[in-house]
Symmetry: C2
């Protein structure tokens, strides 16, 4: 038995208990009881140190973010999170690092009542692969293919903060209040699970903004066979972002910044009043930024004029 097997006890530090987990960590498989009448939404994502997060990221943030980006995929489908499997590769057994990793991981797992049902630790360069499952009514899933011409385009929250956080870390910018805010947005993204579940009452196509708003919106357009127009003047940005840019936002950077993990979604115009009511009642900020068109690439308008912004996508650094 290698020392890597011994660290499995860190996986048992989670406080979440679920009746639908019939057998947890410790056998060849976990045994799970899915609710009858529901489908499962399942997603898997790998995060690699130096690719998906800066090597300097503290263990607690790595644990938090690894789960967050996976829960964000469930949010983008409108699913209710339930179970998670965690595979970590580590260069060496570092108990202090693992304890902090699990602290960040468990914080978010507890918030969303997600139970860790399987784990594997191996020796290798630092990398985390997570598999999450959630419950969903398959007829209400927020598939990317559901957008139609005339639908309005929305985003939750603000766009672009995480990109500034990443730039600040990579370029050793001097810490201040708004830089710190953007770094927290990068390291501790908030998966929009509640928003996703509320959206499933509407005919919505959704995606989480992981690679950049323009690229991610194009995924919806490609799957739906549509085009899109967005208005830069309407893109919601934070006070911190405006401070960073001295009130002159760099839209090329903002629309191609990844890692915000807000949702971008479309909704039929005649459902929008009801949508706003629901979201306002739950204190979830949504902003209409444009509309779906028949065809073509995504056009960006500013003061009613077309602005040329290339979708570059998330630049793995």
């Amino acid at each position: 038995v290698s020392e890597f097997d011994l660290i499995n006890h860190f996986f048992k530090t989670a406080k979440v208990n679920r009746d639908d987990v019939l057998l947890g960590i410790g056998d060849d498989c976990a045994i799970l009881s899915p609710p009858s009448g529901k489908a499962l939404a399942v997603s898997t994502d790998t995060l690699i140190s130096g690719v998906h997060f800066p090597e300097s990221t503290c263990a607690q943030d790595v644990g938090y973010k690894s789960l967050a980006v996976n829960l964000s995929d469930l949010a983008a489908m409108g699913a209710d999170p339930a179970w998670v499997s965690l595979a970590i590769s580590l260069p060496e057994v570092n108990e202090a690092w693992l304890e902090k990793f699990m602290l960040g991981f468990n914080e978010l797992a507890t918030e969303h009542n997600v139970k860790l049902i399987g784990g594997d630790t191996t020796q290798g360069s630092l990398s985390i692969t997570i598999n999450v499952s959630g419950f969903i009514d398959p007829h209400r899933a927020l598939k990317r293919s559901r957008a139609k011409p005339g639908d309005l385009i929305f985003v939750t929250g603000d766009i672009g903060d995480a990109g500034i956080g990443l730039y600040a870390i990579l370029n050793d910018l001097i810490s201040n209040q708004y830089i710190d805010f953007c770094m927290t947005r990068l390291n501790r993204p908030r998966p929009q699970v509640k928003a996703g579940k509320l959206l499933s009452d509407f005919r919505v196509a959704a995606i989480d903004i992981s690679d950049g708003l323009l690229v991610d919106l194009q995924h919806i357009c490609r799957a739906s066979g549509t085009g899109a127009v967005i208005n830069l003047d309407k893109i919601p940005v934070s006070d911190s972002l405006l401070q960073y840019y001295n009130n002159k936002p760099d839209w090329q950077a903002i629309l191609n910044a990844g890692d915000d993990y807000e949702l971008c979604f479309t909704c039929p115009e005649n459902e929008c009043d009801a949508l706003f009511s629901v979201m306002t009642a739950e204190k979830i900020d949504i902003t209409c930024i444009g509309n779906i068109t028949d065809t073509g690439i995504t056009q960006c308008l500013q003061n009613d004029k077309v602005v040329g912004i290339k979708p570059k996508g998330y630049n793995h650094f």
Copy 2:
């Protein structure tokens, strides 16, 4: 969009189709419809180049083995394989390598009718993390904790071949018929899915032999609160193994060789006749190698004398 996103098309080369996959690869999540009345058995395992397989292993064998070791966990629980997610890290995009990897992966996926429902490719050192799900009646799961004193201990197939295969590769032994046989056993382990499903009709505790027979049997004993006695004279070995050892098997090596992925399981003595009938009808070789005792460490007997063999477990090279 990075070139790593572009290689996702390799994930779509699988021929398996399943009605219970409502939405496959290409959205934020897959959507799956579990059968009513069944539970899910879920397992996740990482394989790292140079740790879990020699770096010289060909891509096709890496693809085959990655899925095999995960299906083996389902087999050890008695589950019926259904869905698989695949996360690969690669130092660079190598289309020829990926094509061969998927060839080996798909060969086994087709044999077991397992559908690839999610994939992620990232840049990093070569590593594969797989998450498999299967269906199971939770009351019939082959939990490690089900062994009782007096139960007989069995293994499927032969033990120790894969360990010789690994030694041969690491020490550049000259190829011959029996070395090649052992290398195939190492690189293309046969997950005992059918055996596991048949065993679920009996009160069986099972584990797959991944770390070595002694260590894996101890997992059953620890979970069941029992001891065990095994007879070295009864351990089934292949002709190739006997040739390699000139008919003098090195039991220390054989009982601690991992990677065979046969099943080790216990069965109540009064169910054994029925068990043999079922296994014989399905042409599955099983061998009784000992019995479960009240307590203590696993004892090894040879010619009715206790032989001191230390459980070392799989030696990650």
